[in-house]
């Protein structure tokens, strides 16, 4: 694959700007909270500016090629390079990350969770941002792995320190689960390293481009299957895929609002991104063999997640479970190994990020007003805080895949693509999955509207009827939320904005598989 290198500093600046901001913040004492908030917001805005610049500089006619490409030496002794690049697959996710973070910082303006210490809290989020952007631009497996792991620690601390009552259990579970996945993932990376040689140099390499181009060439099939299995679990934990999902409800429920939003909006996408960037292009033959299993776990996740939602009594936990179901649709699109399905998956990632992120914001604001998220105790939000209630209704509609809003374009094309998976994948199995996934949309409507009915409709319960703390959406909340709401509508009405960026990259990625002679086909 040809690459385009125009500005060799841009990606580095984009990735490390948040970290630099965090370092600057470290220089100031903790009690200057206002200053820290400003610094953090400023940093994220600078990052956003760099991100916008990246979008402007991006050559949309060549969205299938890696751009702003850099390939420097890094740890020569192990052949790990400082390789970065952006194409149409990663661009929307980078955009999502750089956009969400400033909004989270705005929201933090008057929502620093207990036990306080804005400085540490905000610094951790900036470090997180570096890790997330880095993961999306890395084109070297070791670099990818480092960024992937950088994300882990700040989130662990966010949950462990600023989390809810059960934070210790939730944070450890999150940490151990992800570490377990990472270990298998790293093993797979190393196996790839040792079993592949760069045709140009004759040496082993971690370079993702080279690995994608060789696409498992020369690795015996059974080995490929095992390597892919390692990645499957590694990325699957992060997605999270059934049955590796149980860390998610706990982490989400216990995490502070900001943590939940970032977790939902961006972190979960690291796993799915890993599938489409690494696992499938590098081992297409194994992907084909694994596809029915990925699809199976995806549809189990869809139904199981939805059922889990119906059983929840806590609003935040319910939203967390809905992520399991939604990521099931994303994984189903990926499992088809078609360009159409993978496009749908990327769209689904962005849509889920916006919609579920927004739902977690709402949950946070509800918690702040009612001091509880117990669904049975809530009610009548539309009476006491009508705008908040309507926004919840709007997001519920978006989340259940209403056409005209972003959620639809992640869900419907994924279902559609399952009708006709790539050659070599059992069609009849996937058509069964298609029907099951379609049934999942009924359950999605069920739990979301039931949530809406129990929390927003009806009269306020006596407990909260005259509570002066229950106020409508505040200015800060409006500023933080409006971009989310706007984009949910925009992408719903003009889905081409994303599809047209991702499509060339996805096609390129799958074409590459075809060129090396494997059977995975697009369309």
């Amino acid at each position: 694959m040809e690459t385009i290198a125009d500005l060799d500093w841009l990606l580095t600046a984009l990735v490390f700007a948040p970290l630099a901001g965090a370092l600057v913040m470290a220089l100031f004492p903790q009690d200057e909270e206002e200053l820290h908030k400003r610094l953090a917001l400023l940093t994220s805005l600078v990052t956003l500016g760099l991100g916008v610049f990246l979008f402007v500089e991006f050559d949309y006619d060549n969205a299938g090629r890696l751009q702003q490409f850099v390939d420097w030496d890094w740890i020569e002794v192990i052949g790990a390079g400082y390789t970065m690049g952006v194409d149409g697959m990663s661009l929307p996710l980078i955009g999502l990350t750089v956009l969400v973070m400033p909004l989270v910082f705005i929201y933090s303006w008057d929502h620093i969770p207990k036990p306080g210490n804005a400085k540490a809290f905000l610094m951790l989020m900036l470090i997180l941002e570096t890790g997330m952007i880095g993961t999306f631009v890395a084109q070297d497996l070791i670099l990818f792995f480092v960024f992937f792991e950088v994300v882990l620690l700040p989130m662990f601390f966010m949950i462990a320190v600023w989390g809810g009552e059960d934070r210790r259990y939730a944070s450890l579970k999150f940490f151990l689960y992800t570490l377990f996945g990472s270990a298998l993932m790293l093993l797979s990376f190393l196996a790839l390293f040792f079993l592949t040689t760069d045709p140009a140099t004759g040496e082993h390499t971690f370079n993702m481009l080279v690995l994608s181009e060789s696409a498992g060439d020369g690795i015996v099939r059974s080995t490929q299957l095992i390597i892919f299995g390692g990645m499957f679990i590694g990325f699957g934990v992060k997605v999270p895929m059934f049955p590796f999902h149980t860390w998610l409800p706990d982490a989400h429920t216990q995490a502070p609002t900001q943590g939940s939003v970032i977790l939902a909006a961006v972190l979960l996408k690291l796993g799915t991104y890993g599938f489409i960037r690494i696992a499938i292009p590098m081992l297409p033959e194994a992907a084909e063999a694994w596809a029915p299993w990925i699809g199976l776990f995806a549809v189990i996740g869809i139904i199981y997640g939805a059922l889990g939602c119906l059983a929840q009594t806590d609003m935040k936990r319910l939203i967390a479970f809905s992520s399991v179901a939604h990521m099931g649709f994303v994984m189903l699109g990926i499992a088809t190994l078609t360009d159409f399905g993978i496009n749908a998956a990327i769209f689904g990632m962005v849509a889920h990020g916006l919609i579920t992120g927004m739902l977690f914001f709402i949950a946070g604001s509800v918690k702040e007003r009612y001091h509880t998220l117990e669904i049975d105790r809530l009610g009548g939000m539309l009476v006491q805080a009508p705008k908040l209630g309507w926004i919840l209704g709007f997001c519920a509609m978006a989340s259940l895949g209403l056409p005209g809003l972003a959620g639809f374009w992640g869900e419907f094309p994924a279902i559609l693509s399952a009708y006709n998976p790539a050659a070599g994948i059992p069609e009849e199995t996937f058509r069964g999955y298609m029907v099951v996934a379609a049934i999942g949309t009924v359950l999605a409507a069920g739990y979301l509207l039931w949530l809406l009915q129990r929390t927003a409709m009806g009269e306020p319960s006596e407990e909260f009827a005259n509570d002066p703390e229950i106020t409508d959406v505040s200015t800060i909340e409006w500023i933080a939320w409006t971009p989310f709401l706007f984009l949910i509508v925009l992408f719903g009405v003009a889905p081409g904005l994303i599809f047209e960026v991702t499509d060339p990259a996805v096609v390129e990625s799958l074409n590459n598989c075809i060129q090396v002679g494997c059977e995975v086909a697009g369309g």
Binding site: P29, V161, L176, L307, G308, L310, E428, M434, L449, Q453
Partner: protein
């Protein structure tokens, strides 16, 4: 299941065939019909953002937008009439998405890419490739195209112009080689719907300014009315099945919001949820069916409706695929258009404000399923094997619905529920008509029903406005003396619904009965099949309709006024929170009455637009105008539907049956009940010693009807209850006990093994963070700085070394 599905759904790789009955260059209004839905959409946004600040609280935006849309719909309709008879312009190549036709006879130089560009340019550019021809000169440049001169297929030998739909399409997005377009398809069917939707929506808007005045959420109400109107118009104008799905869902969400308009009370929000969820169940079928069509008939390339129907009509799709698609789409029809057994949401939907019931749950949205079948008719024509048969799923579901719902209407005490079940029943007629192959009869009944049912609903609202209740037995009776104008219009609506000559319902219902072809239709001929069972059900339905409407009229307007002596049931009379009308019932104001007058006028006259052939009282050129302008006879995308010749004897017999039903009900209520009430001075609504109290069988039947065939118990109690309760709890139990049990055990073992590490993290870091967070976080900062200042390579190398050992072991294992 998988193997079965695979067998049922073969993949078709060839592309869609060319549609010959479509043009892109026509009258400006036909090309630019997208403006009509755009207007209420803009109105929605204006009301949303500025509504509350306006003097009329946003209603003015809605009325203005829908008013203009109505005028445009009229002009579009006129343009269509002209187009239908006089069009001799250029036919265009389809599919409109710009995809290369699969078998193109012409030397082609890749012009198809510019399908989404400026039309004028495109048409010029395509002259040399034009597939279609000018209908007049009869020459053709494509041998496979059935030229659309109506004659043979029509069965009436009427000479005329070809039926040519007008399509205007633009690319919406492109993904994975599939192009999604958005556009408008204007033909007789959509023009008819434009007229119905805009007219009734306009009347409902005007009516609502009085009816819901003073409502808590007046502005919201009008915002959603606008959004609904926009969505419905968007739906009927869709030129591709994806856009239909979008419109379909959008009208559903508007329905949800409006049913739940008074969401403070749980029954209302329950009804809203039920409506949405039941429709979602049907949507599974919609998605599966549409996706099947997309691949089987659209070649996996196009969603274009005409391409798909055309391909099917030309026989390019396997029967199996069509059976699957038709069966799946049936589920969608059953939910959206209230067919048994997914109809249960529709009566509950009456929890919404009455104008909404009239517009959405009677005249327009609920016919979306019928419209969809009519639009995709070749799918059902082939998939259900309609021609030459005597039974199929669609017709039978319709027949069962029309009788089953008609029976339920007898046991209702709420006037709106009577009308709701009546709507279900009439939708059953339409579905049955489509199922027996009487396409025009179904669409015609959709058309007439919209007017008289809107009339009846708004009439019931007018009564409720006066008595603050919908309960006929408790709060109504004798209303004709209080509100004579409402009474007159309600009678007109009832008579039209009952199918009495010469009002609207008579013509359309008779056409359906004729169309069944059952019993040799009493000497008439033709008709696609011989659906005797369905004709029987249709006749029973006619008797039921007349009877329950007689009952409804008696309970509401005759006898003694039974209300006024107890407190108002506010659950049912939200519109009257202004408390301006307490005291005696009274006639409604002009903004309520004028819509009723207009709709009554239509209820009387509108049936005349499709007088049957052979009706000697009028010149031949007045006959079958509706059929001529609406039915795409001879179009390449429409099957050759035969038409039954009407039969005088059938018309007379069905009328007699209707009169019989009405007469029985009249005898019971107007004679027996009324007489007993007068003689005893009691306020009676039923006979105290009627059949139900004396006969055990009748009592059991009555109980089944009151319990609505126990379907709600099945859905709400058993299916939804089990899903929300035991099944969901079981999933959650699996989660916390099984999966997490494994995870926790593994985790605890790991933790125990690494106790020391754990202690360090836990005690050293977390507690430190909480207790002395400032100090520690500064230290963390230091740590981070140190790591970032050059030690990271060491870290990576160490990590790597450890992992490499593991990997070595891994590879050794693999190599073994």
């Amino acid at each position: 299941m998988n193997a079965l599905l695979a067998a049922a759904l073969p993949v078709f790789t060839e592309g869609p065939s060319e549609v010959s009955s479509v043009t892109r260059e026509a009258n400006w209004f036909l090309e630019n019909a997208f403006i009509i839905p755009l207007l209420p959409a803009i109105s929605f946004l204006l009301i949303l953002f500025f509504g509350k600040r306006m003097p009329k609280k946003g209603a003015e935006f809605g009325i203005a937008a829908v008013g203009i849309a109505f005028v445009l719909a009229l002009i579009t309709g006129a343009a269509w009439l002209d187009h239908r008879d006089n069009f001799d312009g250029q036919l265009s190549e389809s599919p409109a998405t710009g995809i290369e036709p699969a078998h193109d006879d012409h030397a082609d130089d890749g012009h198809a890419d510019d399908g989404h560009e400026d039309e004028g340019h495109e048409d010029e550019g395509e002259d040399e490739h034009a597939i279609g021809v000018v209908a007049d000169d009869g020459s053709t440049s494509s041998d496979e195209v059935a030229l659309a001169v109506e004659a043979e297929g029509d069965g009436h030998g009427e000479e005329g112009h070809a039926y040519v739909a007008v399509q205007n399409s633009t690319q919406w997005l492109q993904s994975g080689g599939i192009e999604f377009s958005a556009g408008t398809l204007v033909d007789g069917l959509s023009v008819m719907m434009l007229f119905v939707v805009t007219l009734i929506s306009l009347l409902v808007h005007i009516y609502s300014t009085d009816y819901v005045s003073g409502d808590r959420r007046y502005t919201h109400f009008f915002a959603f009315l606008s959004l609904f109107t926009a969505s419905m118009l968007f739906f009927v104008l869709s030129d591709n099945i994806l856009q239909m799905i979008v419109g379909w869902e959008l009208v559903g969400v508007c329905s949800f919001a409006l049913i739940g308009h008074w969401w403070e009370e749980k029954p209302n929000s329950d009804a809203a949820l039920k409506a949405f969820l039941t429709n979602r169940v049907g949507d599974v079928g919609l998605l599966v069916g549409m996706i099947t069509l997309f691949f089987a008939a659209g070649g996996g390339q196009t969603f274009d409706t005409l391409s798909i129907t055309n391909t099917i009509n030309q026989g390019g799709v396997s029967h199996t695929a069509l059976v699957v698609a038709a069966a799946a789409l049936m589920a969608a029809v059953m939910s959206k258009s209230g067919q048994f057994i997914l109809h249960t949401w529709l009566p509950d939907a009456m929890a919404g404000p009455t104008p909404v019931s009239a517009l959405i749950h009677a005249a327009t949205m609920v016919v979306a399923g019928i419209y969809m079948v009519a639009r995709l008719y070749p799918v059902f024509w082939e998939g259900m094997q309609i021609p030459g048969s005597s039974i199929n799923l669609l017709a039978t579901v319709g027949a069962v619905t029309l009788v089953g719902a008609g029976l339920l209407a007898f046991v209702q005490t709420d006037i709106k529920k009577v009308l709701a079940y009546s709507t279900v029943s009439q939708l059953g007629y339409m579905a049955m008509a489509l199922g027996v192959g009487a396409w025009t009869a179904a669409v015609f009944h959709l058309f007439t029903h919209a007017f008289f049912k809107a009339n009846l609903f708004l009439g019931s609202g007018s009564v409720a406005h006066a008595v603050h209740s919908f309960d006929m037995k408790k709060d109504m009776g004798g209303m004709r003396t209080f509100m004579p104008q409402t009474y007159k219009t309600f009678i007109i609506g009832s008579v039209a619904l009952a199918g009495v000559f010469p009002l609207a319902g008579f013509w359309s219902k008779d056409e359906i009965l004729v169309g069944t072809g059952g019993w040799g239709i009493f000497g008439g001929t033709g008709g696609p099949g011989s659906y005797t069972f369905h004709l029987t059900m249709g006749m029973i339905g006619a008797a039921l309709t007349a009877a329950y409407m007689t009952r409804c009229v008696y309970l509401t307007f005759h006898g003694e006024y039974r209300g006024g002596d107890h407190g108002h049931d506010d659950d049912h009379a939200h519109a009257h929170d202004d408390a301006a009308h307490h005291g005696d019932p009274h006639e409604s104001g002009p903004r309520i009455l004028y819509p009723l007058y207009i709709l009554s006028g239509f209820s009387i006259l509108i049936g005349l637009v499709n007088l049957p052939p052979g009706f000697q009282l009028v010149p031949e050129s007045w006959q079958e105008r509706f059929l001529h302008f609406i039915e795409p006879a001879g179009a390449s995308y429409f099957p050759a539907v035969g038409h039954a010749t009407p039969s005088w004897s059938l018309a007379i017999i069905s009328s007699l049956i209707a009169f019989g039903g009405a007469g029985l009900a009249y005898w019971y209520y107007f004679v027996k009940v009324d007489g007993l009430a007068r003689s005893t001075g009691q306020k009676l609504t039923e006979l105290p010693n009627g059949l139900v109290t004396t006969n055990a069988w009748a009592r059991a039947g009555h109980k089944v009807l009151v319990e609505k065939y126990y379907l709600d118990h099945l859905y709400t109690g058993i299916i939804a209850g089990a899903t929300k309760g035991p099944i969901a709890r079981a999933a959650n139990w699996t989660n916390t006990h099984l999966i997490d049990g494994v995870v926790n055990t593994a985790g605890e073992t790991a933790v125990r093994t690494g106790r020391q590490v754990y202690d360090k993290i836990d005690q050293g870091l977390i507690e430190g963070f909480i207790n002395g967070s400032g100090r520690v976080s500064d230290a963390t900062g230091q740590e981070l700085r140190r790591i970032n200042s050059g030690k990271v390579q060491n870290y990576a190398a160490i990590l790597f070394a450890g992992a490499a050992i593991l990997a070595g072991a891994f590879i050794v294992i693999l190599a073994l």
